[in-house]
């Protein structure tokens, strides 16, 4: 995934650095050329000055100019004056103009001048290394701020780009913070021309989605209602039939099981439908999780008794904010699941535990358990874990844990599937936020 911010900051900074540094190099080269001309002009002045020197005085014959400069005055092949560091041989051939020479272990820039009225040759020399260092130091002082400014420029670019991208971030967080059932259009108080089109498209999409959901809601409600009535009638007819014919017949059992399964499926579909965020109208109230679990356990106790399963409830009263109906659906599905998938005579432990900021409802059994690969899939719609002990024959449609997951989501609770503390089996943990 590519970051717009990183792209903008890196490419703007790289462009700035590239052009500034290349310009600095260009500036360096032209400044050095200018500095060279300046030093040459200084040598011209020096030569003019030296040519008028009074060579009769003793002091002028051994003039000290500094280590970077040297001169000689020649008259008809005779050295008549020189600086202290000049050799006795001519520094340069007697040809007027600029040249280079090597003496005293250094390279020198030389200028030769013939002074006609005095019949003198004047040769002045300047050390190239020192004049180069001097020129370079001056030029580099102008480049240094360019380099030191780069971190500041980088910081400024970062701030500007971040500021420029803020509307995009605001739009992104507005979309992220939208509730699951919030299908209201996005309003942007601080809109930008570039984002208006995006917001318009998203709002159009939300509107279409809202209409589709409304249609689906009506269809589901109608279908559920229509299905429930004939199913009840079918159950009554089946009951009547059981009194008229021989109920020991295998086909009759299969018919009865089929009708039970279908009724369960319709009930689960209705529960699932009610537990979807779009349909769910949360009526939160303070509920004692331990108490409601106890009630659900009592109502389902005959199922556990029938399979000779031992069930134990551990814990104390702990209050949470929840929707009573939804919570009952969640607990009954968890208990029903444990009952269905635990073998005859198995053990089931239900616990309500206070974890400080959270409350954990844990239902664990010593059934066959769930393979690691399947743990993430058990909350999928219509997914059923394969079982070798015949549990799959129990009425079920693979919606129970999907409903559990939906209800948990509606209460901002976490669901985890773990291995049971028994030798085998699984444990379902629902972590609710504790009532503050």
């Amino acid at each position: 995934m590519r970051s717009i911010r990183l792209f903008l900051i890196s490419s703007i900074l790289a462009t700035l650095i590239l052009f500034n540094f290349v310009a600095a190099l260009q500036g360096y080269q032209s400044s050095m050329r200018e500095a060279d001309t300046l030093f040459d002009n200084q040598m011209l002045d020096l030569a003019r000055l030296v040519s008028n020197l009074d060579v009769s005085s003793a002091s002028s014959k051994d003039l000290r100019l500094g280590n970077n400069l040297s001169f000689q005055i020649w008259n008809e092949s005779r050295l008549i004056a020189a600086s202290h560091n000049a050799p006795v041989e001519p520094l340069q051939s007697f040809v007027p103009g600029f040249e280079y020479a090597n003496f005293d272990g250094y390279r020198w820039r030389t200028f030769t001048r013939y002074e006609v009225p005095l019949d003198r040759w004047v040769i002045v020399a300047e050390r190239t290394d020192l004049r180069f260092v001097l020129a370079e130091n001056v030029v580099l002082q102008s480049i240094l701020p360019l380099l030191l400014g780069i971190p500041i420029v980088g910081l400024l670019i970062w701030i500007i780009v971040s500021h420029g991208l803020r509307p995009l971030q605001q739009l992104s967080s507005a979309l992220r913070n939208k509730g699951a059932n919030d299908l209201s259009p996005i309003l942007s108080a601080d809109s930008r021309i570039e984002l208006d089109q995006v917001i318009e498209s998203i709002n159009g999409f939300i509107q279409r989605l809202d209409r589709v959901m409304e249609r689906e809601k009506r269809f589901s409600a109608d279908a559920a209602h229509e299905l429930r009535t004939p199913m009840s009638a079918l159950k009554v007819q089946l009951h009547n039939l059981s009194e008229e014919i021989d109920t020991k017949h295998e086909s009759f059992h299969q018919l009865q099981e089929g009708v039970d399964r279908m009724q369960h499926l319709i009930e689960q579909l209705l529960s699932l439908y009610r537990a979807t965020p779009e349909q769910f109208a949360k009526n939160c109230e303070t509920i004692d999780l331990y108490g409601i679990t106890q009630d659900q356990l009592a109502s389902l106790y005959p199922s556990f008794e029938e399979k000779e399963q031992s069930i134990e409830l551990i814990g104390d009263s702990i209050e949470i904010e929840a929707d009573k109906f939804a919570l009952e659906t969640l607990i009954s599905n968890l208990l029903g699941n444990a009952n269905k998938y635990t073998q005859r005579g198995g053990n089931i432990v239900v616990s309500v535990e206070d974890l400080g900021s959270e409350v954990c409802l844990r239902v664990e059994d010593n059934g066959p358990g769930i393979a690691d690969a399947e743990k993430s899939r058990v909350f999928d719609r219509f997914y059923r874990v394969d079982s070798n002990d015949g549990a799959a024959r129990a009425p079920g449609c693979g919606l129970g844990l999907t409903i559990v997951s939906h209800v948990a989501d509606l209460h901002q609770a976490r669901v985890e599937v773990k291995d049971s503390s028994f030798a085998s089996g699984s444990a379902f943990c629902i972590y609710f936020k504790k009532k503050s």
Partner: protein, 276 residues
Amino acid sequence: MFLNSVILVLQEMIEAALLISVLLVFTHLFQRSWDKSFVLRTSWVALSIAVGVLGAALYSYYTPQISEMFDYVGQEILNASLHLLSLLLVCLLAFIVPSAQLAKNTMGRARFAAFCMTGIVMFSIVREGSEIIQYVGGIAGQEENFTPVVLGGFIGAGIGVSTGVLLFYGLINLSANWSFRISLALLCLIAGNMGSQAVLLLTQADWLPFTPIAWDSSSALPENSIVGHLMYALVGYEATPSILQVSIYLLGIVLIVISPLFRKAWPQQQSLVGKA
């Protein structure tokens, strides 16, 4: 000092930046068809730079000892070996990338490709980095040279890295087809350059015979001019290359051209990188 420092650092940095950019473009182009793990996308770059810098520091520290090896041609031999190893890894990559793309189960191959890229960049940084460290460390130690050398080093590094960044973003913002073509062409030049440099170093070390020069373009484009230095960094330009150098340069290009990367990936990469 300043200009010398700029040229040396720029030459080494631009070579490494070019290589990293091209490999990052390949990673970007194929990341969707390889896998989405963090390992493949970015961490190989960080790892190779970190290990490369460490290697460069060790190399420059032990340079006196290395130089004395193999009858005082140890440095040439080591540099040539690093070039050849990089060339080998570039060729392996050219053969691995399309396989990784074509096969469904790509995790192992993608990791191997990341391994190859880590090696290529790491060897490159060891080679180029050690030269920079030796130069800057040697000259910046003299007080009067410190400012020009360090300043020149920063300017050279800045231009080199910026060129790499702009090249990377320029390439990934092209259409997938053009991005792939240009990166592949650059990879060919990099491979050729690596082979040619290895031959030059082995010839200098007397491990390979001298062969006649293929051409002399020193009057048209001198090697020690700024453009000459840049061309050396970009395409391995030599004003007077030997016939053997040119042959190995061309062999490097041919190896990439005959690789599956060139042949098989070409018609299919549109559908894969199109999603990127």
